[in-house]
Amino acid sequence: MTTNSTPPVDDEPLQSPDEALALIREQQRSVEREQLGGVPWILGVWAVAWGLGFLALWSGYDGGNPWFQLPLPAAGSIFGALLVTAIVTSAVVGARIGRGVRGDSAFSGAIYGVSWVVGSAAVFVTGIALSRAGADGALLSLYYPAAYALVAGLIYLMGAALWRSLDQLVLGVIIAVVGAVAPLFGAPTNNLVMAVLGGGAFLVAAVVMRVSLSRRAR
């Protein structure tokens, strides 16, 4: 490292304990904002994916949306495209949260990331098994959203435990409950339940987090 001749900046003792405490608080908030600033966006893209995606599916089935119908392949494509967008956005933004940091928390973060892959794959494979065992389209359209929501809800609960996050705790409980309750409404209404309650929960979580991050900035 080269020695530089310019004197270091901010080397003088601080004036008062108040000033010191304020400086600590301000700096730690700024770190938090810098690290978590992307999270409301992740929640936001999932709100759109669930809200619009499940509305599209609901509009794709007979007996669904009474106002307008979509051809089922189109509805499925909309749903799929929104899902892929949300997954890619989460992966990219999520990977940036802990960038430059190595160590114990990176391990937790990696497990959290892997859980999504393992959980989603398990839902998919189980779905294939159900289909081979004779489950028809209507049954599978109940199974997939419910199973995925249960996995997602539990992973949010794990995140809540890992990072002591109340936001994730509330979101996890809501998503798991929505997943469990939606099939009770039968197909295709379960898609509407997923869109309104699931998408709504993500939307509220995104707004709450955005507001709380900017409030801490002051």
């Binding site: 490292m1 530089n4 310019t6 270091p8 900046v9 901010d10 080397d11 003088e12 003792p13 601080l14 304990p17 108040d18 010191a20 405490l21 400086l23 600590i24 700096q27 730690q28 700024s30 770190v31 938090e32 810098e34 960038r99 430059g100 940091v101 190595r102 160590g103 114990d104 928390s105 990176a106």
Partner: protein
């Protein structure tokens, strides 16, 4: 007034220590990312890190990722304790005034 740790009781080093303390114990951060979180020049950050390193509050570790050299910075146990003692002392001083 309680003696406040002179190593930490300067704006730049307090901000550095507070940032490192906000990471989980056992985590280390790359120099450029730390610089980003602090919005300090590399030269200034190096100078202050050296002082923290001399006090054994901070450990600076150089390694390689492929061919690029990477510098990791971490708060030592001693540094974390010093920061906690320091914030306790601040609160004691402020509490005593009321």
């Amino acid at each position: 007034m309680t003696d406040l740790d002179p190593v930490i009781h300067a704006a730049a080093r307090l901000r550095i220590t507070a940032t490192l303390a906000s990471l989980e114990a056992g985590d280390r951060i790359t120099f450029p990312r730390l610089q980003e979180l602090l919005d300090m020049t590399a030269g200034n950050l190096s100078t202050h890190l050296r002082k923290l390193e001399e006090a054994e509050y901070v450990a600076v570790e150089k390694s390689h990722q492929g061919r690029t050299p990477v510098t990791f910075v971490t708060l030592t146990r001693r540094g974390r304790r010093a920061f906690e003692d320091y914030t306790d002392a601040l609160r004691a001083v402020l509490g005593g005034e009321e």
